[in-house]
Symmetry: C2
Subunit: 217 residues, 2 copies
DNA sequence: AACCAAGCTGAGGGTTTGCTCATATATCTG
DNA sequence: CAGATATATGAGCAAACCCTCAGCTTGGTT
């Protein structure tokens, strides 16, 4: 929405009838499935169309090409995550640092693990060079949401420094990705968000209330 | 080396003469370059051979296919990083927690940013489904190196819990990836490893010296 | 019913890609 | 030098792929 993708990446038209909406959904769903079962290299438009149960011509009525299809999928999935984070962060009125840590981590983690397959598909698809702007944009949204939440935190006096917010968001998103993509560590996944919350609390405290309660100046 | 890849992914033969070694190196180099300039989708064997200045036939004498080429490249780059970490961690004899944090982060960060282009190429290539085992293996090596270093740390009494090591390593590697891949935040990259070190120190302290020096039991 | 968008189909043209193989050159060994 | 081995070449074929288009079906409106 906010971004202006080149024509090559924009959808050709949006579905208006209910049946067409179902078709597009099926195409998205099929794309994610093929991505997971075959990998990005073997993802072909014909294969996606077949898996979606529609003809190849139908696919090309909505998307000008393979890349546009992936672009739309990534855009959709990223937007869902960003919206959930923004909503959750905005809802915290006077959070403690620990609240901030828990809220951000839990929300992000839940958004990702709610449908781990889709999350993995997203990681695969977003490795396409042209998606990087989309990812960047989403990261900025997360950073802004986090920074504004921290600013409403009584323990935080001034505006939180960029490096801290950047580092924190990078570490939460990157760490989660690492765990989700590593099929080996998938077993101890349930405990991960707890550790990640502890880590976040420790970091935020060390960044914002470092001295022993430096009283009012 | 440690892994036993299916024939489809193993190199066909190793170069023995110096000239052949140079050829294989050129192919690797060209692969990384094409990966960065064209992306994984447009990486073709013909294109790589051209960029390397060798004939397509030559490429196929050493690698049975495109995937094997990528596999070998990823294997090489991952091994370099793991070796550097293992070496650095093993060299620390009686480190403090802060030493551990700094050593691991600085070494990993230096290994990645020493050649950021190659690091980015690695991320692109490793998104191929079949590389996940290779990545997993490397992560385990990093975890082991970190765990053994922590065990030699006077502030750490017992063996460090798996969740902590897993979380820490995931966060350092994942966070670094996030920063390296995001071209926007590339500018404040120089400060990132400092924050990451602070974060690591804070986390390790909260995990290992949480109470006020719970004396011997 | 008659009409018109909107939606769907899938064979096939043109292109790209992966890979082979017959041939040629370079390096080594005795 | 002569033979053996290692290395390099690149035209070209089979397969895979992207995408179009002319015609067909479905849903909605009057």
């Amino acid at each position: 929405m906010t971004l202006i993708p080149p024509t090559r990446l924009k959808p050709r038209k949006n579905p208006v009838q209910a049946r067409a909406k179902a078709t597009v959904d099926a195409i998205f769903e099929a794309t994610a499935q093929v991505l997971l079962s075959e990998g990005l290299a073997r993802l072909t438009t014909n294969h996606v169309a077949t898996r979606a149960g529609v003809s190849i011509g139908t696919l090309y009525q909505y998307f000008p090409g393979k890349e546009a299809l992936l672009y739309a999928l990534v855009e959709q999935l990223l937007d869902q995550v960003a919206c959930q984070i923004e909503e959750a962060c905005a809802a915290a009125e006077r959070p403690t640092l620990d609240d901030c840590a828990a809220l951000f981590v839990e929300t992000y983690f839940a958004a990702k693990t709610g449908d781990p397959e889709k999350a993995r598909a997203l990681y695969l698809a977003s490795s396409h060079l042209e998606m990087s702007a989309l990812v960047s944009r989403t990261i900025v949204r997360l950073q802004d949401a986090a920074a504004q939440m921290l600013r409403r935190c009584p323990e935080v006096r001034a505006a939180p420094p960029d490096e801290v917010v950047t580092c924190w968001v990078a570490v939460v998103t990157g760490g989660t990705r690492q765990i989700l993509e590593d099929t080996n560590s998938a077993m101890l996944l349930p405990g991960f968000h707890i550790e990640l919350t502890r880590l976040s609390s420790a970091y935020l405290r060390s960044a914002f209330s470092s001295g022993p309660k430096r009283s009012d100046g």
